[in-house]
Amino acid sequence: MLVYTAKRIVLAILVALTISMLVFSLLYLSGDPATALAGESATSDDIEKIRQAYGFDRPVWVQYLSWLGNAAQGEFGNSLYFRLPVWELILERLPTTMTLGVSAMTFAIVLSIPLGVLAAMFPNSLIDRTALFMAVVGQAMPSFWFALMLIVLFAFTWPVLPASGSDTWRHFVLPTIVLGYYATPAFMRLTRTGMLDVLSSDYIRTARAKGLRPWTVLFKHALRNAIIPVVSLAAVQFGFMLGGSVIIETVFALHGAGFLAWESISRSDFPTVQAILLLFSLLYIVLTFLADLLNAWLDPRIRVG
C-alpha cells in the first residue's frame, strides 16, 4: 500500500507540473500579455513600459522558471490586474466556490441516488424511464440555458429568489440546482447500474432466501456495495464541479474563484490564472488520489495490479 501511495504522489506532482507548463504556454500563445494589460487605447510606448515593468521582456522559459521557483516557496506573486496578492484574492473568493460546489454536490447526491435505486428496483418501468429521461436532459441541456430559464421563472415571472449576488443562502439556491443537476445523470446511472448488478448477485439471492426484509436487503446489503463506485465518482465529480462552476458563477454574478479564473484568462493575468489552476488541479489530483486509495483499500486487486 505504501509503494502504491508513493507512486500515486509522484504521478500527481508530475501531472501538476505538466498542467502549469501547459497553462503558461497557452496563455502566452493567446496574445501578448503587455498588450492585454495595457488596454485598447494604449500606445506602443505604453505597452513597452508595461512589458518592462512586469518583466514580460524576458524569455518565456525564464518567466516560467521564475514563477515556478517562487511557487515552490509558496510565493505566487501579485495579480497583474488587481495588484493584490494572488492568494488574498483566491482566499476571498474560494468560500463562494466551495459553498456552491458542496451544495451542488449534496443536491446531486440527494436527487440522484434515490432515483437510481428506484430505477434499479423497477427496471424498464415508468420510474426507470423518467429517471433516464431526467439523466438525458441533464446531460444534454447547456447549463447557461438552464440557469437563465430558472432566473426567468423564479426571479422574474415569480420573483421568489434573487437572480444574482452571493449575500444570503437564497442567492445559492438557483446556482446549486443548475450545477447539481448537471452532475446528477452520472450519479444516477452509476447507482442504477451498480444496483442492478448487485441485486442480481448470489449473496443478495441468499439474503432474500434467508427471509430478510426487502428494505434490509436493499439498503444494508445491496446499496452499501453498489454505492462504492459512486463514492469514488463523487470525489472526482466534486473537483470537476469546482472547475466547472465558471459559467454558473458568471450568470449568477457569484464572484467565486471560477469566475476569477475565467476573467483572469481574458486579462492575461498570469499569476492569478496559474495559481487558481494549480489550486484546482491539485484539488482534483488530491480528490482523484483519495478515490484511488479508497478503491485500493476496498479492492485489494487494484493494489496488487
Binding site: 496574445g31 437563465l148 422574474f156
Partner: protein, 516 residues
C-alpha cells in the same frame, strides 16, 4: 471567448423574449422591488470588475465613470457645447504652446474635509511624471514636463512639446488627488478608499462586487458639472448582460448599459423600461497591409483595396445588423471628432465595379487571403459573404484582442477587421495618428500622410490642424488604406423613473441625473 459569449447571448436573448412574452401574457408587469425612487437610490450595474478605484492604475471605461464622479480635473469639457470651462481651476490661460497657467479655485473641499490647495495640483502632476510608479494611464500624462506653484493659488504646467490635446487631457484624464492622503495611503489605499473633490463620494467598497456612492453635500457651488441630485448610487458588478436585463426588468436595477441591439428591442416592450440608444466614438474598419509588411499580398494594389470597398454594403450591415442608429463612416476617424472631415472619397456598394477593379488588378477570378478579427463575428460574416461574391475567399483567424493587435504590429496580417474607440478623446489625433502616424499600427506607411498628421499634432492653431488632417484623411480615403465601416452605437436601458440623457462619449454622468 467572445464568440462563446455571443453564442450564449443569442440563446439567452431567445429565453428573454420568452420571459417578456410570458410576463406580458400574464400581466405580471414587474414592479420596482427596491423602490429606488422612494429610497433616492440609483441601482446600476456593469459587467467588468474594477481592479482598483485609483483612476491612474486602471484603464477601463468603468474607471472613467468613477473618475468623473469622485474626482474633478482642473478643467471641464462641457459635453453639450464642447467648450472648456474652469473646474478646480477658477480660470486658466494658455501662456504659450507649452505653458498653461491655472488659478486654483479657493474653498474646495476634499471628501475627507481637507481643503484643495495648489500643492495638491503640483503634487498630483509630480506623481504622474514619475517614471516607475506602474500607473496604467500613461498616454494622457506623457506630454507633461513638470508643474510649478507660481503663487498661493496659481500653478503652471509645462508641456514637453506642443500638445494640442493638452486641454482635453487636463479636463478628463488628470483628476487632482489630495496629496497628503495619497502620500500616506498610496495607490493601494486610494484603490479601496478613494478621496476626491467630486460630486459623489465613495462610502462603501466590496472589491470587484459593489461600490456605494453618496451625494457630496459639500460639493462646491458654481461647479460647471452642476450639483448632484440623486442621494445614493449603488453599483453592482454583474458579468452577464442577460442577468443584468432580468434584474432591470424585475426592478432590482435602475440602469444598465451596453445592451445588445436585439435585446434592447425586447426590453423596450416592458412598461417600466426606457431604452436610449446613443452613439459612441467607436468605429469599425477593415485594414489592409498596403505597405506589404506581411510580405507580398494583393492588398498592395490600390484597385484591390478599392474593390473591397465597393464590394461591401456597409449601409445594409449598419441598418440591419449593427442597428441602433449606426451610420456608415467614410473617413478614418469618428465623424464628431475634431478634424474628422467626411469630405473624402466615398465608395458606394457596387459589386460589378468591384469585380472590374479586381480584374484590372490582375485577379479576374479573385484570390484567397487570411483575415484577422477579434470581435463582432456577426458583423464580419456578412462582409465575408460580400467578399466571396466578388471572388475574394477568406481564411478567418478569430482571436483575442491582444493576439490580433499583436499579429498586426508584428507584420503578420494582410487584412483585418478591427474597431477603435479613441478612448473617448474627441480628436482625430486619438485615432488617425495612431494608425497612420508611422507607429507599429501603421500598415500603409505613407510618408505624406505621416507628415500631415505630424503637422496637425504639432500646433495649437485649430485651422492649421484641420487643414493638415483634411489632407491626410483625403489621401487615406483616395488610397483606400482603410475601409472605415460604421459607427458603434450603444444602448442604455433604465427605469422610466430616471431622468438621464446619454452623451456621445459613452461616459454616463449621473450627477446630471434626477428622478422623474
Amino acid at each position: 471567448m467572445d464568440s462563446i459569449r455571443n453564442w450564449r447571448r443569442g440563446w439567452m436573448g431567445l429565453a428573454l423574449l420568452a420571459a417578456v412574452s410570458a410576463a406580458g401574457a400574464s400581466t405580471l408587469a414587474p414592479t420596482s422591488a427596491f423602490a429606488s425612487k422612494a429610497n433616492d437610490t440609483l441601482n446600476i450595474a456593469w459587467e467588468r470588475e474594477q481592479p482598483t478605484l485609483d483612476y491612474y492604475f486602471q484603464n477601463s471605461r468603468e474607471g472613467i465613470i468613477i473618475n468623473r464622479h469622485v474626482w474633478d480635473c482642473l478643467l471641464w469639457l462641457d459635453p453639450k457645447s464642447g467648450e472648456f470651462k474652469g473646474l478646480l481651476a477658477k480660470s486658466y490661460k494658455i501662456v504659450d504652446d507649452r505653458t498653461f497657467e491655472f488659478e486654483i479655485r479657493e474653498g474646495v473641499k476634499f471628501h475627507d474635509g481637507t481643503t484643495l490647495t495648489a500643492d495638491d495640483v503640483v503634487g498630483t502632476i509630480q506623481f504622474l511624471t514619475k517614471p516607475d510608479t506602474g500607473k496604467m494611464q500613461n498616454q494622457p500624462v506623457a506630454w507633461i514636463d513638470r508643474a510649478e506653484k507660481t503663487g498661493p493659488n496659481s500653478v503652471r504646467i509645462y508641456a514637453k512639446d506642443t500638445t494640442p490635446l493638452a486641454l482635453l487631457y487636463l479636463s478628463a484624464d488628470i483628476p487632482i488627488y489630495p496629496m497628503a492622503y495619497y502620500d500616506k495611503v498610496g495607490p493601494e489605499g486610494m484603490g479601496v478608499k478613494p478621496i476626491g473633490t467630486g460630486p459623489y463620494k465613495v462610502t462603501e467598497v466590496e472589491p470587484g462586487k459593489r461600490i456605494v456612492f453618496e451625494k457630496n453635500a459639500d460639493y462646491f457651488k458654481g461647479s460647471p458639472k452642476g450639483q448632484p441630485k440623486i442621494g445614493k448610487i449603488v453599483q453592482r458588478t454583474i458579468p452577464d448582460v442577460n442577468t443584468q436585463i432580468v434584474e432591470l426588468a424585475s426592478g432590482n436595477l435602475d440602469w444598465i448599459f451596453k445592451v445588445p441591439a436585439d435585446q434592447a428591442e425586447k426590453l423596450e416592450t416592458l412598461p417600466n423600461i426606457t431604452v436610449k440608444p446613443a452613439s459612441t466614438m467607436r468605429i469599425g474598419y477593415l485594414t489592409f497591409d498596403a505597405a506589404g509588411r506581411s510580405g507580398e499580398n494583393p492588398f498592395q494594389k490600390l484597385e484591390v483595396r478599392q474593390a473591397v470597398a465597393h464590394a461591401i454594403d456597409r449601409q445594409a450591415i449598419a441598418d440591419n445588423i449593427v442597428r441602433g442608429g449606426s451610420t456608415v463612416v467614410h473617413s478614418a476617424c469618428y465623424p464628431e471628432q475634431f478634424g474628422c472631415t467626411q469630405d473624402v472619397a466615398k465608395y458606394d456598394y457596387d459589386p460589378k465595379k468591384a469585380k472590374e477593379l479586381l480584374a484590372k488588378a490582375g485577379y479576374p477570378d479573385g484570390f484567397k487571403t487570411d483575415i484577422y478579427a477579434y470581435r463582432d463575428r456577426n458583423y464580419l460574416e456578412p462582409m465575408i459573404g460580400y467578399l466571396s461574391a466578388i471572388g475574394i475567399r477568406t481564411d478567418l483567424h478569430f482571436g483575442k484582442y491582444a493576439a490580433t493587435r499583436d499579429a498586426i504590429r508584428s507584420s503578420k496580417v494582410p487584412f483585418a477587421f478591427m474597431t477603435w474607440g479613441s478612448g473617448s478623446v474627441p480628436d482625430v489625433d486619438a485615432i488617425t495618428t495612431v494608425f497612420f502616424g508611422g507607429g507599429p499600427d501603421d500598415t500603409s506607411m505613407d510618408a505624406d500622410v505621416q507628415k500631415w498628421l505630424a503637422e496637425g499634432a504639432s500646433t495649437m492653431d485649430e485651422q492649421v490642424r484641420k487643414t493638415a488632417y483634411a489632407k491626410a484623411l483625403s489621401k487615406i480615403a483616395d488610397q483606400a488604406y482603410w475601409l472605415p465601416l460604421f459607427t458603434y452605437p450603444t444602448n442604455y436601458a433604465m427605469t422610466k423613473d430616471l431622468d438621464w440623457t446619454p452623451t456621445a462619449d459613452e461616459i454616463p454622468r449621473f450627477f446630471t441625473a434626477s428622478w422623474q
